[in-house]
């Protein structure tokens, strides 16, 4: 039987491989690094003037939304990487070796987490540089970052499952597009009550909104939905855990099916 120590050691080796591959894809790496900063500057300086409500600075509103948007982009990268591995012989070589079978997936998820943490740090750093002024305490910060971590873990497993389902890198790319657009119909960039009723209903009930509102409430002291941050956090955690559990099981199962057995 495979011991936990072996599973961890195999997953570490595979994560190292995935990280090396991310660093060697200059185009994707450059995009991943510049996207958070470009989007932040674009939203704050181009749209911010028109979007700012009640005199507050728009950068105070938008940081959580951008973190989610960048995580969506990162997940797309992960889905493509998984789909690429599944369509060549790497997966067979790994599975013919006495290693923890899912180490290939865990490696991709760990690399995805690392990429997303860097992107999140970039959004936060760039936000602080251009005047983002969160009022949260150290504890609020810890809770907000915990929310980010849970969210990117869930979305990374979702990406792994989608990458397995997609069968080709091209199909997996479509997933990036979905994840890049769904946050627009949430409270990421404008409060839901400024949208037409149908869109507002969607925005209020889709998972990105409570995740964004949890961060916003923790960092800025109030949510844009008016709901208490505790309530948003509960809904957000339920969404993330549900996505995480379903995606991880689906990924493990798809991996077994797709790789032959």
């Amino acid at each position: 039987m495979m011991s936990l120590a072996h599973a961890i050691s195999d997953s570490r080796a595979m994560a190292g491989r995935c990280l090396r591959r991310s660093l060697r894809d200059p185009e994707a790496f450059f995009t991943a690094l510049t996207l958070p900063i470009v989007l932040l500057l674009l939203f704050v300086y181009v749209f911010g003037g028109a979007l700012a409500e009640g005199g507050g600075s728009y950068v105070d509103y938008i940081v959580p939304g951008l973190i989610v948007l960048c995580a969506g982009f990162g997940a797309g990268t992960t889905a493509v990487a998984v789909a690429t591995d599944m369509s060549n012989g790497i997966v067979d070589r790994i599975r013919s070796m006495p290693v923890f079978g899912s180490s290939l997936l865990v490696g991709h998820v760990v690399a995805s987490l690392a990429r997303n943490i860097v992107a999140t740090a970039l959004v936060i750093a760039a936000g602080l540089l251009i005047g983002w002024d969160p009022s949260g305490s150290l504890l609020d910060w810890a809770a907000a970052l915990g929310m980010v971590l849970l969210f990117i873990t869930a979305i990374s497993w979702l990406a792994a499952a989608v990458g397995l389902l997609a069968r080709s890198a091209e199909a997996a790319t479509a997933f990036t597009m979905v994840l890049m657009f769904v946050p627009y119909v949430s409270t990421a960039f404008v409060p839901a009550d400024t949208m037409p009723a149908a869109l507002a209903a969607f925005a209020e009930h889709q998972p990105f909104t409570p995740i964004i509102e949890t961060m916003r409430g923790l960092w800025m002291g109030s949510t844009s939905t008016g709901a208490p941050v505790g309530h948003e956090a509960l809904v957000a955690i339920l969404w993330c855990v549900a996505i995480l559990v379903i995606s991880a099981f689906a990924a493990a199962r798809l991996f077994r099916e797709r790789s032959g057995a």
């Binding site: 495979m2 072996h6 050691s9 195999d10 570490r12 080796a13 595979m14 190292g16 491989r17 090396r20 591959r21 060697r24 894809d25 060549n88 012989g89 790497i90 067979d92 070589r93 790994i94 599975r95 013919s96 070796m97 006495p98 290693v99 180490s103 790789s259 032959g260 057995a261």
Partner: protein
């Protein structure tokens, strides 16, 4: 006699396509066994089954002393996949590819580095060690692929069309490498479409066709079943004649004397050995060719 692979009654069906139909296989320890067959014959499925990647619908097998179905981890510890069955990571360098394999075989950091350096040297890749595998030539890629399979010396090595697309020099090099592995005690299961390769490397050949093993034996035995050589005569009037022969001087003399007696004049005579096509046509029953009969002169266009 000890067998590294003993498989019995292996059947695998995909949808309504029967990829393997009650295949029996024995591979003697320390030998090179070639699985020969056209595309779609079931070679890949058979390898995937023996390498624990595909579960057979029925049948049983032991590989390197471990039950394939009951103890797949035991099998995995003693085999290595190469070729189209197992890709090299193009984005990683040769050294990194080897290091990854060493770590997955649970060598410590230092042991992994040492083994990697040793393999780079053995497989003549030291100069290219820090270049991405994607920049390697075909021959270098095959060598890296083999080296990745040799991080821990396997009992059974799966080699897939090891020399397809290689220039003659690289091909000789690869054949030498294979011979060296056999000397080290590695049993090799080779799959190929090329009789020449099987001829050169394999001790035993099994011909797989539409999921069934239709023949097995040494290369010579297989060629004999096709009917040995053919005497090809270009006739003075521009026509041609093909006469089966066992290739011996006595047989050829007899044939030529008889042709002479019948007044057939041939300005050019050559001996044609059976090709892979002949073996397939014969063994797979695609051509309804009668057994060679020296009395029967067959006219060919």
């Amino acid at each position: 006699m000890t067998y590294t692979v003993e498989a019995s009654d292996i059947t695998k069906t995909f949808g309504d396509h029967r990829a393997l139909d009650r295949v029996d296989l024995q591979i003697e320890g320390g030998s090179v066994f070639a699985l020969l067959g056209p595309n779609g014959a079931g070679k890949t499925t058979m390898v995937r089954v023996l390498a624990t990647l595909t579960r057979p619908d029925s049948g049983w097998a032991t590989v390197a002393g471990h039950d394939l179905l009951a103890d797949p981890m035991g099998v995995k510890r003693r085999i290595s996949l190469t070729g189209q069955f197992a890709a090299v990571d193009d984005v990683l360098t040769g050294r990194e590819n080897l290091d990854l394999m060493a770590r997955l075989r649970r060598l410590s950091g230092r042991a992994a580095r040492a083994r990697t350096a040793e393999l780079l040297d053995t497989f003549d890749l030291t100069d290219a060690a820090d270049r991405r595998a994607g920049t390697y030539s075909g021959g270098m890629r095959r060598r890296l692929d083999l080296a990745m399979g040799m991080v821990e010396r396997p009992r059974l090595l799966f080699l897939d069309e090891p020399t397809t697309g290689l220039d003659p020099r690289s091909r000789e090099g690869l054949w030498d490498t294979t011979a060296r592995l056999v000397e080290e005690g590695v049993t090799i299961l080779l799959t190929t479409q090329y009789l020449e390769e099987a001829d050169r490397l394999a001790d035993t050949i099994a011909v797989l066709d539409r999921g069934r093993i239709v023949a097995r034996g040494t290369a010579e035995e297989l060629k004999a079943r096709v009917g040995g050589a053919t005497l090809r005569l270009r006739l003075a009037d521009g026509g041609a004649l093909e006469v089966p022969t066992d290739g011996s001087a006595a047989d050829i003399r007899r044939t030529l004397e008889r042709l002479d007696a019948e007044g057939v004049h041939a300005p050019e005579v050559s001996i044609v050995r059976p090709t892979l096509d002949d073996v397939f046509l014969h063994l797979t029953g695609a051509a309804d060719r009668p057994d060679p009969d020296h009395a029967d002169l067959k006219e060919a266009a």
